[in-house]
């Protein structure tokens, strides 16, 4: 299949948005409040800032090699072996990320909606959905993401709007968290939720106009970050920080507190989770797709379709590793932060290295001239 450059700026942005908004949004207010009480929205903004910097570095780096993904240009920059090792680590990380996202959502579903359904089944359904869809081409991948974007943004906005009548804006003050170290820690946790943006390295080579990639990244981080802040601010103002600390998924609880006007539906939590399946699907789908596309490139394979099914058992097994929800969240928080090494520091190092190398290269050239 020859590579077609068809992805528009708008589509690139939608891919990033739907990737970044996923199951992580459900416990997001809890993480933010834990590390900074009423400073939670501020911490979220801080985390988004970190995420934005990472994304911009990734984009800039990708723009220097607009025809390649990170798997191949990392070899150009830091040498074949080092590049191979790091690429493998990145791929492994996204494999784990896919598994954890599926597991986390499976846990939410069996805790909140399908109490008797085995966890394995809910996780498997999610993974299967992603695996089958991941067999599609890059173009379909793009279409799927941009198609679902309104369905992802709408439920959050509706629920926030409906629940705001019970908001107490005093709960949001003081705005700034007092403990700097905790805040930074919390910001890293929030930034870890945005790691899906690493997908940008895969998108740039397929973009019609790679130069607008930065614009797409900024829009994406602005919209999904805005949604993050909105959710955190809404949950904090409605529940207060102390109550949030007692809830696993404050965002879900927000839906539980809301009913549609006119009693059409008496509560929205189940509906919210059901619609949220789509948001979670796009996230899992994106990291699944990223994993298999990278693997395909890593091993120089022709076809990625069989790879999609081949990986399924591994991801499923990984997803089943955590024993219970407490352990799950410990692992998620840990992996999330470890992941920042790959999605933030690694591209940064590559970028700097690339800059230095190029400068030296051009100096050498000028000397020769």
């Amino acid at each position: 299949m020859e590579k077609t450059r068809e992805v528009t700026t708008f589509q690139a942005a939608t891919i990033l948005i739907s990737t970044m908004i996923g199951v992580g949004v459900l416990p997001l207010p809890l993480f933010a409040v834990r590390s900074g009480d009423t400073g939670a929205p501020f911490i979220t903004v801080l985390g988004i800032g970190i995420g934005a910097i990472a994304l911009i570095i990734i984009t800039k780096l990708g723009l220097r090699h607009p025809n390649k993904t990170i798997i191949s240009y990392s070899e150009d920059i830091i040498g074949k072996w080092l590049g191979k090792i790091f690429s493998l680590l990145v791929i492994l990380f996204f494999l784990v990320l896919t598994a954890l996202a599926a597991r986390e959502f499976g846990a939410v579903v069996i805790t909140a909606v399908l109490l008797e359904t085995p966890l394995e089944v809910t996780v498997l359904v999610m993974l299967l959905l992603a695996a089958i869809s991941a067999r599609n081409t890059m173009n379909t991948f793009v279409y799927i993401h941009s198609f679902y974007i309104p369905i992802i943004l709408a439920p959050v906005l509706i629920i926030v709007a409906l629940s705001l009548k019970n908001a107490n804006f005093l709960y949001l003050r003081p705005f700034i968290a007092s403990d700097l170290k905790d805040s930074f820690n919390g910001a890293l946790t929030v930034a870890a939720l945005l790691q899906g943006s690493f997908l940008m390295t895969l998108i740039i080579p397929t973009m019609k106009n790679p130069k607008s990639a930065v614009k797409a990244s900024l829009w994406a981080i602005f919209i999904s970050g805005g949604l993050y802040v909105l959710i955190v601010a809404a949950t904090v103002s409605i529940f207060g920080t102390e109550e949030i600390k007692k809830l696993y998924w404050p965002t879900l609880e927000l839906a539980r507190t809301t009913s549609l006007p006119g009693n059409i539906l008496q509560r929205l939590d189940v509906v919210f989770i059901s619609v949220w399946v789509i948001a979670v699907f796009t996230t899992i789908f994106a990291s699944y797709f990223l994993t298999i596309q990278s693997l395909k490139e890593y091993f120089n394979l022709q076809d990625h379709k069989m790879l999609a099914y081949f990986l399924l058992p591994f991801i499923f097994t990984l997803a089943m590793v955590p024993q219970n929800i407490l352990q799950l969240y410990d692992i998620i928080l840990f992996i999330g932060k470890v992941g920042l090494i790959f999605t933030f520091f690694y591209p940064m190092v590559l970028y700097c290295w690339d800059l230095i190398r190029n400068k030296r290269g051009s100096k050498d050239e000028s000397k020769q001239a």
Partner: protein, 405 residues
């Protein structure tokens, strides 16, 4: 390759779908659920521990003292008794089933109830939880854990405190609604809409309970006559324990204090200039709370704007009033509100129960003061007892009804 693709996919799907056939794990038909509509929680009578069967624990082998044994009365809707569509003829049989059980905790009691009911107890439609005053005075935190953990519970359910035993409320048969507990739940909702009580539901109560600078409040009900229920005041809490109740009229003052917009209460006002008693009803209010530190001590300044209307004038006297009279009425009304509110604040200060949430203002606006001097809910309750305050009430009467003289 192409030829094998659909086949492979199909085989793959079939293999994965086979385990699903054993599924329908969560499918439970609506008619085979015991839909609990309301729960009443009372203290168990001293001899009732004996009645408890060994369901969740061995007798005496539980680390919860016998005094805290609760008696749970639940109202379960019976499918078939509540007909679909308009009711044709009145069936005499009760549409609900009332089941009682004792237990050490909420879930303990519910398990005991499940033991008696064939269908699965389903709490998704739980609209009302009635707490007996005695139970509320002992503390409500012990119930919240189960309610928060259970995903079936709605956060919008109503939680009320009752003067009589909660069991009575489960058995009462109001004439107005086919399903008794729906009547109660709807009563709470419509009272809120009419401005008789500030917005209250269980989720909000929990939030307030958790917050450091506010204490909880709940509607307080009592039974009038045979089957009528009346909202008889506001139960205020210190921490999770109920410490007192107000008069019904003071609810209006309280609503002014927290800035609930919807006005509902009317009072008889008789300024010295006038000779008639005039019934003035609050239509809308706006409250501004200004927190400040006076010499390092918390101080609250409340500015309340009322928009009111004249609803009735005692007609034993001439019922004509003019512009100056309304001014006098406005002032008198303001004065009465202010006095009422001062009484209420004093009362809650005595009980160290900051139902107004003034503490939240200090926590939000003076974080330094808060972290140095307060930091915990208990500390704030102490501070609240010594809180100083100024109240300013401004009333404007805009409507006088359709009668000219």
């Amino acid at each position: 390759m192409n030829r094998s693709k659909p086949k492979l996919k199909q085989i793959f799907l079939v293999i994965l779908l086979v385990p699903l056939l054993t599924g329908c794990w969560d499918s439970r038909e609506i008619e085979s659920r015991a839909t609990v509509l309301a729960i009443g929680i009372d203290k168990a009578d001293p001899d009732e521990e004996e009645k408890e069967d060994e369901i969740s624990h061995r007798k005496g082998k539980i680390d919860i003292p016998a005094e805290s044994l609760i008696k749970l009365t639940v109202q379960i809707a019976i499918p078939g008794r509540i007909p679909l569509g308009p009711q044709i003829g009145g069936g005499d049989r009760s549409p609900v089933l009332v089941v009682r059980a004792v237990g050490h905790t909420l879930e303990d009691a519910l398990l005991n109830i499940q033991q008696e009911v064939a269908s699965e107890v389903f709490l998704g439609h739980l609209r009302l939880i009635v707490l007996n005053e005695e139970v509320a005075r002992d503390g409500v935190d012990r119930f919240t854990d189960y309610l928060r953990r259970n995903p079936e519970i709605r956060r919008t359910a109503a939680l009320v405190v009752s003067k009589e035993r909660a069991a009575k409320y489960m058995e009462i048969k109001p004439e107005l609604e086919r399903v008794p507990s729906l009547y109660l739940a709807e009563m709470v909702d419509s009272l809120i809409e009419l401005g008789k009580f500030p917005e209250t539901f269980i989720g909000m109560f929990w939030s307030i309970l958790s917050s450091k600078g506010q204490d909880g409040y709940l509607p307080y009900f009592n039974i009038k006559g045979k089957s009528n229920i009346q909202i008889n005041g506001l139960a205020y809490f210190k921490g999770d324990k109920m410490v007192g109740k107000t008069d019904p009229l003071q609810i209006g003052g309280f609503m002014a204090g927290i800035g609930a917009e919807e006005g509902g209460y009317g009072i008889f006002v008789k300024p010295p200039e006038l000779e008639q008693e005039v019934l003035v009803r609050a239509v809308e209010r706006k409250t501004r709370v200004k927190a400040s530190l006076k010499n390092g001590k918390p101080h609250i300044y409340l500015k309340i704007r009322y928009e009111s209307e004249i609803e009735e004038i005692d007609s034993r006297m001439p019922t004509h009033i003019d512009e100056d009279d309304t001014k006098a009425l406005e002032n008198e009304f303001s004065k009465m509100v202010k006095e009422g509110l001062e009484v209420l604040i004093a009362k809650t200060q005595e009980a160290k129960s900051d139902i107004f949430g003034f503490g939240e203002h200090f926590r939000g606006k003076f974080p330094d003061f808060w972290s140095k001097n307060v930091n915990t809910k208990e500390n704030w309750q102490d501070h609240y007892a010594n809180l100083t305050y100024d109240i300013e009430v401004i009333t404007s009467i805009r409507r006088t009804g359709m009668k000219a003289r």
